[in-house]
């Protein structure tokens, strides 16, 4: 058995004195583990940093075995983010979320969005929005997608302003007016796939929305806390105003 793929490094754990067990988020093969021989060497350690984009070859005698990875660095996203506290917390959040995925279950769209976010790590106003979209897609891929296309009450596609915390569906301004205290705001940039947020408050509302549903559907049922990196990210964003 063998395949090649492109992947994002989630974590490398030491194995023995010289090797490492690598946890990758690959594009075509989903989250995948494998052994990297010499993975603790000075030469390969910089490549195995969380958030880096790598080309990987996996080999095993049987498909159910752990197998071996041969890894080559494509984009050193981690090194570029080392000085940037916000970007590091973004990488940490992304890795924490990707680690929720079932092993060997491909999610190419999620991978592409993660890569897009990492590609824009030096654009502080853009990548947090992409992370919100990543979290929305993660919810959908895990089976808890939100319906932000039409109003849950009237079916209208225009004037969507709220999200119902009960159903995870959008609600129009008109239908939601009597219940507005119980509804969550739907940030304008999430009303369309191509919209871009211009106000940091919109992004904060996006994180509040995805955070609420992630906690309820994903983290709480698994008995896990929300990733500390995400809490740090929100704290830094609040501080930056």
């Amino acid at each position: 058995m063998d395949w090649t793929d492109t992947a994002i490094v989630l974590q490398a754990r030491p194995h023995g004195e010289t090797s490492a067990v690598l946890d990758l988020f690959t594009r075509e093969h989903g989250r995948h583990h494998g052994l990297v021989r010499g993975g603790r060497s000075r030469k390969i350690r910089p490549t195995l940093q969380t958030g880096n984009l790598v080309s990987v070859e996996w080999r095993a005698r049987l498909s159910e075995q752990l197998g071996y990875f041969v890894v080559e660095l494509d984009r050193p996203y981690a090194a570029r983010a080392l000085d940037d506290r916000l970007a590091l917390s973004g990488i940490g959040t992304l890795a924490g979320h990707a680690a929720l995925l079932a092993e060997r279950d491909p999610h190419p769209n999620l991978f592409d969005l993660a890569r897009l976010m990492l590609d824009h790590l030096d654009e502080e106003t853009l990548w947090p929005q992409l992370l919100v979209r990543f979290e929305l897609l993660l919810l959908a891929e895990l089976g808890f997608g939100l319906d932000l296309e039409r109003c849950a009450a009237t079916g209208a596609r225009e004037g969507l302003t709220y999200v119902s915390p009960k159903s995870g569906s959008a609600v129009s301004a008109e239908a939601g007016a009597p219940y507005k205290d119980k509804l969550m705001p739907l940030p304008p940039f999430l009303r369309s796939a191509s919209a871009v947020a211009t106000d940091p408050q919109e992004v904060a509302e996006g994180f509040a929305l995805t955070g609420f549903f992630l906690e309820r559907h994903v983290f709480e049922p698994r008995g896990l806390p929300m990733p500390p990196a995400r809490q740090e990210l929100l704290r830094l964003m609040r501080r930056a105003g």
């Binding site: 350690r45 910089p46 590091l88």
Partner: protein
């Protein structure tokens, strides 16, 4: 079925040696054989040294260093600059900096780095003690000598935020081209960090 070539005492010695870093079963056999051959010159002094070390080595309550004195020799050394604390991940890092002889300061051993995926949080590291030390009179700078890894730098950013209230200067080691390093042979990550950390000459 494997046959045993030696008694349980020798087998036990080999098994214990094989658990040392850098030694496998074969090299442990060679080391055991060497010790047995040099019983008086090496094995007995080594056994005494091990017993003495096991009995006397302590973790310094101030900085987390390993020593037989408490506080450790470094913390007791009045010739060291008490105005700076150099924060390291493990005792091995402290030893590396001492070997280099580039700092004449006191240290603080964190005992690891933050790693959410491994469940290592701030409460698992010696951060409270560091904050107490940084707030003490006379401390003006905290140097974060942590590894240039995602975990190391995440910890450094966390510590710099925590140290804000202590009113000290927080610095970190530079990232980039090592001495004697040729650009042609450097990995892309190191080059990216070096370019990002460039400075005027």
């Amino acid at each position: 079925m494997s046959r045993k070539a030696a008694g349980p005492e020798i087998e036990n010695l080999i098994a214990l040696l094989a658990r040392m870093p850098g030694l496998g079963p074969r090299s442990a056999r060679r080391a055991a054989l060497h010790l047995i051959k040099k019983r008086e010159q090496l094995m007995q002094p080594l056994a005494r040294a091990l017993a003495e070390a096991a009995e006397k080595i302590l973790v310094c309550p101030e900085c987390g260093n390993l020593d037989t004195a408490s506080p450790c020799t470094i913390c007791q050394d009045s010739r060291r600059d008490g105005g700076m604390i150099c924060v390291v991940e493990e005792v091995g890092d402290l030893w590396a900096l001492e070997r280099a002889g580039v700092l004449n300061t006191r240290y603080h051993v964190l005992g690891g780095t933050l790693s959410p995926l491994d469940g290592i949080g701030p409460e698992d590291l010696s951060i409270g003690k560091l904050l107490d030390r940084a707030r003490a009179t006379g401390v003006t700078e905290v140097l974060l000598a942590l590894n240039a890894t995602v975990e190391g730098q995440t910890t450094a950013h966390y510590l710099s935020a925590e140290l804000e209230s202590a009113g000290v200067t927080v610095s970190r080691l530079a990232h980039g081209v090592p001495v004697g390093g040729e650009l042609d042979y450097l990995d892309e990550g190191t080059l990216a960090a070096a370019v990002k950390s460039r400075r005027p000459v």
